[in-house]
Symmetry: C2
Subunit: 209 residues, 2 copies
Amino acid sequence: MSEKGERSREHILATAKRLVMDKGFAGTSIDDILKAAGVSKGAFFHHFRSKADLASQLMRWHSAQDIRMFRDLAARAEALHDDPYEQLQFYLKAFEGYISNPTEPSRGCMYAVYTYESEAFDEDVNDVVAETLREWSAIYIRKFQEVIDRYPPARPVTAKELAEMIVSLIEGGLILQRAYGNTAITARQSEHFRAYLDMLFAPSMAASN
Amino acid sequence: MSEKGERSREHILATAKRLVMDKGFAGTSIDDILKAAGVSKGAFFHHFRSKADLASQLMRWHSAQDIRMFRDLAARAEALHDDPYEQLQFYLKAFEGYISNPTEPSRGCMYAVYTYESEAFDEDVNDVVAETLREWSAIYIRKFQEVIDRYPPARPVTAKELAEMIVSLIEGGLILQRAYGNTAITARQSEHFRAYLDMLFAPSMAASN
């Protein structure tokens, strides 16, 4: 696709994402998107065969961006710190800054939207959602495993359990954040989770110093 | 309303709830509900003025049921145990049993559905959602406060922080549960949370015995 064509596709996808995050996928019509994006029906159907095709491209586009962001954060954490616990703290704190940005309040999570409208999507789209959640979790699992290997936790806990916990806290925090209109809630969950990590790992970190 | 009328209303609401949990609110048409419930248009409009009125009645009906269930669990916990920590454990475990029931798998959380389609609902409906989440959280806050008052935690933590954490874990766990098709995930989050509570409160419980 030409650069201009790709820009036009991304403009439509970004507009669709904003609308879908406010009204859900079924609640967003193609006409809503055309109007909000200021594009013609022809331009839309040049890029998307149907609303189902938009659903699929939107999730794949969002997922690729999202995973790239998390991988970048993890890479920055690793570049800046040698100690796996410090890397983990950096990674969690960087996400807290991102998710509570008051000038660009997070509208929530696209995976949650798709998950709650799962019957409306083709199986392969639902598979992309589950696969992306797994990829995102895998970044946490890797970081937690490195910490557990270096600093035996105060009680038996697996990297997978911890990863599932922080992913759930973020997803649940975003729901409360939307319901209460308070952009601080998800970051607060992550901070609380870091306090729990301190209880788990501080004793063996102290012992190793 | 006559008993028969109320039964008919509840039948329509229960059917609508099931459909909304699978496809979202916007994705569920009145025709879908009529078909799935096996009722006539006349019967539907006898109870509901419009789809917006259904949205409002559905949330109020669900919210009343849900809060009653949580209050019943808390009352049972208090009837069976004197110690606030044992009450809390009972309350959390009872919910774990309910949410992971494999014969009637939880479809997720209605508040999450409404929260993610918030633009589609009147302000008063969104207010009911936020108010219900606060009422639900208040039950946890009360139980946590009783525990904190009896057993000073190993690190400073407020009842509200703990309540927000378990509510987020449940909401986020339900998203993963749906995405992965695994009914055990939310209960696992709650178990993990109980392990965290043990780290917080076991030292002062041991000291008080």
